[in-house]
Symmetry: C2
Subunit: 357 residues, 2 copies
């Protein structure tokens, strides 16, 4: 079967642990932690003891430091609501098939994150003149294969200095008001609103300010766009979220009762406002404006809904497309890239309106 699972949470891989949320379970402002998608890279979730965990801040800084978990969590905190989406979300729907964990549409979620603004930590450390990037290393490591060679590597990803200094970029220790779960990065996780999930480094243990761009495995070999015929020297790292929307209700394949029906979903973009959401209930011929509703936050998704009067029996294709405040919208089909990153093509589902029995 090529259809969506009926379970609320789907396991794609046990080792490394990869799970995604079924679309109906995304139909809320906050995604419950226990159903929040997981995309880990290695077998082992790092052992973390708050008593011994240290986060070091080093590299091109005036004052390197090494903070304990208690010390960090006693600093002034900030809470942001932010949507994380795995770069490989919706990869399954690319043609030709893309390489990687076969996520459908559920490797996305919206959560409340609490922690210390990274800019506070960087400001205390004092980046030197001429620094360009900040590198984040997790405590997770393992083997990756590249061109037949096995490499033992740690998970590490960098941000441009400017993004690192964004006041919503956090070193988080809470998710949805509770201590981070081990699978989500306990004790500390970088949270980078507006960027794909690979930037939000879990089990964060080292921050290094750099004078030259980082060229490590997860920056130059994975989480890069590899397009048709593109030379390796042109591979670009995956960075910010593309505008995207999903239908969460009804579910693909659902039989809906004839009459008025409310179609609902979520829409997000890179830290900018969703200004318009259109719904089609006839396979893309006509589009109607949906209502945006519920809470709003810069890096968070927006909920939307639209009434549909389903009177004629038949099978109908519902599609949604979002427009953001920069005028970006979603393509009917996204050009292929080797690992299927950032597929934000228009989501479509089919539902049945039954006839008289």
């Amino acid at each position: 079967m090529t259809q969506d699972d009926s379970d609320e949470y789907r396991t794609l891989s046990e080792d490394p642990e990869c799970r995604e949320t079924a679309l109906p379970a995304l139909d809320s402002w906050i995604t419950p932690t226990e159903r929040f998608y997981v995309r880990n890279h290695f077998s082992k979730i790092p052992d973390a003891s708050p008593a011994t965990w240290r986060l070091s801040i080093e590299g091109e800084v005036e004052t390197p430091s090494n903070l304990g978990y208690e010390e960090l969590s006693s600093l002034p905190a900030r809470t942001v609501v932010a949507t994380l989406e795995c770069a490989g979300n919706s990869r399954s729907y690319l043609t030709p098939p893309a390489e990687g964990v076969g996520f459908r549409h559920g490797a996305v979620g919206n959560a409340e994150w609490t922690g210390v603004p990274l800019r506070e930590l960087l400001s205390r450390a004092g980046p030197k003149q001429g620094t360009v990037e900040v590198l984040f290393e997790g405590a997770d490591s393992g083997e990756e294969e590249e061109e037949g060679v096995k490499l033992e590597i740690d998970y590490a990803r960098s941000l441009p200095l400017e993004k690192a200094l964004d006041h919503d970029t956090l070193v988080a220790y809470q998710m949805n008001g509770e201590t981070l779960q081990p699978v989500h990065g306990y004790p500390l996780r970088l949270i980078v609103p507006g960027w794909y999930g690979m930037a939000s480094v879990k089990w964060l243990r080292r921050i290094t300010v750099l004078a030259t761009p980082y060229e490590g495995f997860f920056q130059r070999r994975r989480y890069v766009y590899i397009r048709n015929g593109e030379a390796q020297s042109n591979w670009q790292p995956v960075t910010s979220l593309q505008v995207k929307s999903l239908i969460t209700v009804p579910r693909h394949g659902e039989v809906v009762r004839p009459g008025q029906f409310t179609v609902q979903g979520v829409a997000w973009s890179e830290g900018c406002e969703i200004t318009r959401l259109e719904l089609s209930t006839d396979g893309g011929r006509r589009w109607q404006d949906a209502d945006l509703f519920g809470p709003q936050a810069a890096g968070a998704w927006r909920r939307w809904k639209s009434d549909w009067l389903a009177t004629t029996p038949g099978h109908f294709i519902l599609m949604c497309r979002a427009v953001d405040s920069r005028g970006n919208t979603q393509p009917a089909s996204m050009p292929w890239n080797f690992r299927g990153y950032a597929n934000n093509s228009i989501h479509s589902i089919a539902v049945e309106v039954p006839g008289e029995q």
Copy 2:
């Protein structure tokens, strides 16, 4: 993983038995019987004894008859090479997902079929004036569910009288020079070149000439096109093959040695000639004519090949598209239908040309 299996034969379902061939195993004129795709509808393969098997010819005919297996196989025989493709082939690649067994591209094959031309049998029986269709019933039966109601049904499908009288439509008892295998319809299978596989009724036991169109389950409920918003009264039965082509070599995801490489494949249409095959090695920007080669037969596929000088390292999208003698060609993407029938959109694969190590 969303990629093609590396095995030569892939099982999609054990009950009913459904199997497809991996693309590299389709890279020949004749598909070996042991890897030929299977799409059965019910659990049980009918028990068949040549000594007791009877094929009845009845309905609107002057002279009904009831032939034994020995009698049939002693009649003048005809051998045709014909491509059978399951109507649900390539269904997995539709958006939104289509209902049904998740075939990739391998539910197709080309075989040599030997049997009695149906027109000979019909001509002996003498259809009466005003007959319009001929119904074919297999010995397979089981339960199907429709709108919550379970039905006990036999597999049955009809043909217009004209197609039934085509001189290549056979009541076959051999496949690739050997007695039919049970899974492929032993002892008798209707072979309808130019139509999707559902017309080639297996375990054939009754032929009924009809004065009115057949309205049974597999004619009006299954193997029908159900498009967006279409009323049931407009559902059209699936009939003839749409023009289509596949790349069989290289395989999706293959790492090809830099240098000259021969891309190969197959192409077919409804009993008419493939006049042109184009290959793109840059994701569809430019197209080059491929060479058609090997044997030709009216209802059979044609092989094609084209050289590709793969010199630059990178990941490349290869695509092929066929044109037939009626000017039909393949769409970039096929409009959705509920059961995903007849998906003949352009086949694309991605291959890697490695760089210097």
